[in-house]
């Protein structure tokens, strides 16, 4: 899963989104949710328009999801991303309101709705971990 040096890293100390990357640094996947009514607030933000609460929590969710869409990029537009590579869009099993993006090298064989599993990729030596997604291995003996 190697990528070239100098790749883009996420800003991890934003007021509204920092908790997502703080959880990732612990190898946990978390979504922002309203503490009052439970609504998932993804992408993360401070106010729940559904119930009017300013009280939010980071809810740990299972690192599993389903492949919602994908594209294999064949034409390079950014120096940090040599082609081919594949961008996946994953719908979370525990919070279907939330979708997360992932990077796969090359041109993997993918099918809509396939099971995906999270892993956490170090992207620097400062402890920044980036949630990534790979197809769930076939169940052994199945």
């Amino acid at each position: 899963m190697s990528q070239p040096p100098g790749r883009l890293r996420p800003e991890t100390d934003d007021h509204d989104t920092g908790g997502f990357f703080a959880a990732a640094a612990r190898e946990e996947l978390a979504v922002c949710a309203c503490a009052a009514c439970g609504a998932v607030l993804h992408l993360p933000r401070a106010y729940c328009a559904r119930c009017g609460s300013w009280d939010t929590v980071w809810r740990t969710v299972a690192g599993r999801g389903r492949l919602y869409s994908w594209t294999t990029v064949e034409h390079q537009v950014h120096r940090s991303f040599p082609v081919p590579y594949t961008i996946v869009l994953v719908e979370l099993d525990d919070a279907p309101e939330a979708r997360l993006v992932g990077y796969l090298p090359g041109r993997p064989e993918l099918t809509a709705g396939m099971a995906m599993r999270v892993w956490f990729e170090p992207v620097d030596d400062e402890g920044t971990l980036l949630p990534q997604w790979i197809p769930e291995p076939e169940t052994e003996g199945a």
């Binding site: 100098g6 883009l8 996420p10 800003e11 919602y68 950014h78 990077y103 620097d124």
Partner: protein
């Protein structure tokens, strides 16, 4: 533009454009000035008559830049719309609002860019990283941008987003690459008849479309629009004043903007969080626009759909009610969108084959259809739909013959 009383009260009386090229060798301000002068003259006016300017938020040219370049004696109204390609319908709406409220008499709407020789899409963050010594590259996102959820994964260009939308449409409805190809071919055929189009001399067959290199699956080379240097401008006045000009006025039947029920934070990529990726802001926009116009899809004779990519058109064919949701592919393949079809589209060639002027060339071509001067004129066209970019927000207008 909120009630029937506003219908047809203002008009586009002048249109102008520069050459569309891949290297203008000129500044954006120079391009904007040329297009503006052409539009003002086309309206039968002179620069001293212009007292309003509306622009796109991504334009390098500010309202005062153009006012100075044109020698305007006193600009009393200006406004900015966007984001990006969603601007044109909103710009026309601002012009109408300014005229109806007495803040201006003649408003210039323009878009100028060196879209090929200057700044290009997808290059953000390509410079030297600021993360030296950290083992990592530049940090992206934060500050309300939300790019931290997208750019680190290589989701860095609008085409990547639209490829995800196209794949999803294929998953949900069985849409095919050939379906998208019919949209590319229709736009190319119209460009082949348009001497001003960048692709005027280059025909396109389905075999060539399918044989072209993949850019970001499932979108190939000809699913992507052009990158263009150039400028377009239009002049908006009251219906009465437009009637004094040398050309038949293109009445502005209605204008609308829409951010839809799930506006989303940030810009562009966060729209991937919407419940549906295959019904877009164009759906809610269409409802508002048709209601304001007192018209429906059956009344539209010709349409200029914003076409940054072929899939953008396919989504709008459905969202604007010309076919059922999911039927955009078969509808495009049926010949309906071609010359002589029930809904000829993008009669100048659109972004895919005329040039990428961020939706304002669609407004210019809409006026030509109403005047009867298009190079792919739809006989007897009385009502033209013109749309602007999705998915972040969108805007649109309906033009009508007096």
């Amino acid at each position: 533009m909120s009630s029937a009383a506003d219908r047809d009260r203002c008009a586009i009386s002048g249109i102008g454009a520069t050459e569309f090229s891949s290297d203008s060798g000129r500044s954006a301000l120079s391009l904007a000035t040329e297009a503006a002068l052409a539009a003002i003259a086309d309206a039968g006016l002179t620069s001293v008559d212009v007292d309003g300017i509306v622009r796109c938020d991504l334009d390098a040219v500010a309202h005062n830049d153009l006012a100075e370049a044109l020698g305007l004696p006193d600009l009393t109204y200006w406004g900015t719309s966007g984001p990006g390609g969603a601007a044109p319908g909103g710009m026309i709406g601002q012009a109408v609002g300014a005229i109806r409220s007495g803040q201006a008499n003649a408003v210039l709407a323009f878009r100028a860019l060196n879209g090929r020789s200057g700044a290009r899409f997808g290059q953000a963050g390509s410079g030297p990283g600021s993360g030296a010594g950290s083992g990592g590259g530049r940090r992206v996102g934060g500050g309300g941008k939300y790019d931290e959820f997208f750019a680190p994964y290589g989701l860095v260009a609008p085409g990547h987003l639209f490829s995800l939308l196209a794949r999803r449409h294929m998953i949900e409805f069985g849409t095919t690459e050939e379906h998208l190809g019919h949209i590319a071919l229709a736009c190319r055929a119209r460009a082949n008849a348009n001497p001003a189009a960048q692709m005027r001399d280059r025909s396109l067959t389905m075999e060539e479309y399918l044989g072209a290199r993949m850019i970001s699956s499932p979108l190939r080379l000809f699913d992507y629009c052009l990158e263009t240097d150039g400028a377009c401008a239009v002049v908006v006045t009251s219906r009465e004043r437009a009637g004094d000009g040398p050309h038949p006025p293109a009445l502005i039947r209605a204008v609308a903007q829409s951010a839809g029920p799930e506006p989303q934070v940030g810009f562009l990529y966060p729209t991937l969080m919407r419940k549906s990726l295959t019904t877009q802001t164009s759906k809610s926009l269409a409802e508002t626009l048709y209601r304001r116009a007192g018209l429906g899809p059956d009344d539209v004779d010709v349409a200029q759909f914003y076409d940054c990519f072929t899939i953008t058109v396919l989504l709008q064919l459905e969202d604007y009610g010309f076919c059922a949701k999911g039927e955009g592919g078969p509808f495009a393949a049926s010949g309906a969108i071609d010359k002589g079809g029930s809904l000829p589209i993008n009669t100048s060639g659109g972004h895919l084959s005329e040039g990428y002027l961020h939706g304002l060339n669609h407004v210019v071509e809409g006026v030509r259809q109403i005047r009867g001067t298009s190079t792919s004129q739809v006989p007897g066209a009385e009502v033209c739909l013109v749309t602007s970019a999705l998915p972040v927000t969108t805007s649109g207008l309906i033009l009508r013959r007096p």
